[in-house]
Symmetry: C2
Subunit: 429 residues, 2 copies
């Protein structure tokens, strides 16, 4: 961990810069995968499951029987926890649903806007070292609330050709019935082109390894909608003298254990707090099962002392963290000044983990400074907002001449004609 | 124009497929432009203005004096029309502003969501054959309503090194004071990297020619947020026996005159209406100043007869038009079944032109089937929605154990620790 005290401009640039993700070289790897999936459909997916996941499977679609078997395997304690998390996530996301907007901008000119669900969406849930059933909830719940008609979930099978029971339990609970045993770039390819078992979708969501990320970027260039540009997960903690170093250390480590490319940043108000937090990190790190991973990601991370709160907030806004924990005396006051962040955790009793799982907010958030312009996943991400307008006779008579003048100035006589013909017609009839 | 009667699956594919836009070859053209702008800043922009716009300019930034001079040049009739359009657009977009969302998902667990403006945004307004001051309104008004702190507008200069007065009048009216004389890929490069006169922005909006489109796609791959993938403009008209062929023809032609790559699609309920519309198109086309352009885009367009309304709506949803005009008996009833479109125009008295200029809805809309997953520009496009959470002691005590169970199952012990340490601390204190 590198320590900075009141860093200058160049150092701030260094602190806020994320490690470069080289997706270009991955394109060479994923292109043949895409080609194969496009040509051979399910057969290609079965072959890739063998090649990459070392799983012999006959069908890529998880059967109803497998789902029911999985449900019985999940222990009651976990079921109860998932059920409570679902209730919270549903509450917060249900509140995001927007009702129809209808405005009469002029007498006889009605303008409307309506949220219409994206018909077909694809959710990617990583497998690998951790069975991320929480991601099933974070993507599946808003998709269901939005009203998407077709929701397909792709996730890689284990060596035994199975999907982790908690993933199937979560999927079933939120109402996703099409779960496909496919991971990596081939999953993204399947949802892009469609196969015998996988429907072609209009938007793809979810985190993943570098191949998944590269594949999502690849299809996005070809016009496929994706949730957001992905990068390694990250947290920034802002701690003043009221912070509890033990908590700060735990929060930083909970991020660091995600992967060796995770990023953590600590900004403190003085050197004393920084020292205490550092000691706590060393102490807690030793006991972590994922110590090796956390160590590597901590090595690339920064601890920063900022004497003024104003400068600290400026740095945090430049960093634009995916997760920002405000372990400060007046977290709301600081939060009001935060203009760039994915999700903000207020005070000593709000660790990132609560948002990762169960508080109700979404955990699919913008990384790698994308929070400068992107939001996290929400019900909005699963709808399009279509606008409508309807003019009455009075409306076109009032608005028409305005449009005629403007269209003429833009040299678009055809645009003007569409109005003029109507006005003439109304005069005659 | 190609005519289809009750087309089959293959023909529908043909009808709904847009002409391919080849952006790859343009990358070779734009890359050196980007390099030059990055290295030489304003100097590069001045050189490109000479090279591409044949304009000798000393400064790229439009001065206050130029703005004031332009304002006096715009005739009162146009000013009045623009002012009324602004009022309508403001009304509809102001209604899109979302208030803070605050939900207590569990006792002691507060989740919030707030719209925060994107700090710095860049708007591109094409010059060329038509001075698109309407685009200034459609991008500038929502940016201002959202509260973006820095708004920069790039638009190419005329040969005389000037910006069309109506563009400057519109920009000034909506409160944009930084107008830059730069067009093409170099404008996108300037807003991406920043130059002496152009601020580096976080999101780029606006239509443009193929170089601008390619440049936006290029920067989007590098993580820059853009409004939406761009393609040529398009309209679909659905006309039943209540439609007025004269209006239908005018609406199709108003789209066709945009550019030679514009797309129009007419879906009718019977051959008789189709014939009448076709006759009207021929009649009106002859009188259009932009006849040559309209002819070329019509040549690639389709006229389709669909005997059943159900099939017609299915086709329209597959086409996913940027603009959809419903010249039918019960337009609201049909609109309820439209799930893919950018903006919908209801009834015989609602031509596309009203939405292009002044009804209040936005004219920056998804083309090329992007309406399957994308919305048009709105106030939403200029904000990020940041989520927040705050737990009380009671909150973490209730939610904590749920998170512990879930984190453990995902093998993320660090995540669990962040909660466990807090629960232990609260027990002791």
């Amino acid at each position: 961990m590198k320590t900075f005290v009141n860093p200058g401009k160049d150092e701030i640039k260094q602190i806020t810069t994320r490690p470069v993700i080289k997706l270009k070289s991955l394109k060479k790897v994923i292109k043949p995968i895409f080609k194969s999936v496009r040509r051979r459909g399910d057969k290609a997916l079965i072959r890739f499951a063998f090649e990459y996941d070392h799983a012999e499977i006959k069908d890529v679609l998880v059967t109803e029987r497998e789902i029911q078997a999985a449900i019985t395997k999940v222990n009651p304690e976990l079921k109860s926890a998932i059920n409570k998390a679902v209730a919270n996530i549903e509450k917060f996301h249900q509140a995001q649903v927007q009702s129809e907007l209808k405005i009469e901008t002029m007498r006889g000119v009605s303008c409307m806007r309506r949220s219409v669900p994206i018909e077909k969406v694809g959710l990617y849930v990583p497998g690998g070292t951790a069975p991320l059933f929480s991601t099933v909830l974070m993507l599946g719940i808003p998709a269901k609330i939005a009203g998407c008609r077709e929701i397909v979930l792709c996730t890689p099978p284990t060596k035994e050709g199975r999907i982790h029971p908690a993933i199937l339990y979560a999927a079933n609970l939120v109402g996703i019935h099409k779960v496909i045993k496919v991971g990596g770039a081939q999953a993204i390819a399947a949802m892009t082109y469609g196969t015998e078992s996988v429907p072609k979708v209009y938007k793809i969501f979810g985190p993943g390894n570098q191949y998944v990320t590269a594949a999502k970027q690849y299809v996005s260039q070809k016009g496929m909608a994706i949730d957001m540009p992905a990068g390694p997960s990250e947290v920034a903690v802002y701690a003043d003298e009221t912070a509890i170093p033990q908590f700060v250390a735990a929060d930083l480590l909970s991020q660091a254990e995600h992967g060796i490319d995770s990023q953590v940043l600590l900004v403190t108000s003085n050197v004393d707090i920084l020292k205490k937090c550092k000691l706590e990190i060393d102490k807690q790190l030793d006991k972590l099962p994922r110590k090796r991973i956390a160590e590597q990601s901590l090595a690339k991370s920064s601890l920063v002392v900022m004497n003024s709160q104003e400068e600290a907030i400026k740095l945090l806004n430049q960093y634009a963290a995916e997760h920002l924990i405000l372990s400060v005396k007046e977290p709301e006051k600081v939060a009001d000044q935060i203009i760039n962040a994915g999700s903000v955790f207020l005070g000593n009793l709000s660790p990132e983990s609560v948002g990762d799982y169960a508080s109700g907010t979404n955990h699919t958030l913008p990384t790698n400074k994308a929070a400068l312009a992107f939001s996290g996943v929400s019900v909005d991400s699963f709808v399009k907002k279509i606008t409508y307008q309807k003019l009455t006779e009075r409306g076109i008579k009032t608005l028409g001449p305005i449009v005629e003048v403007m269209a003429e100035e833009e040299h678009l006589v055809g645009h003007k004609n569409a109005v003029t013909l109507r006005l003439k017609y109304l005069e005659k009839n």
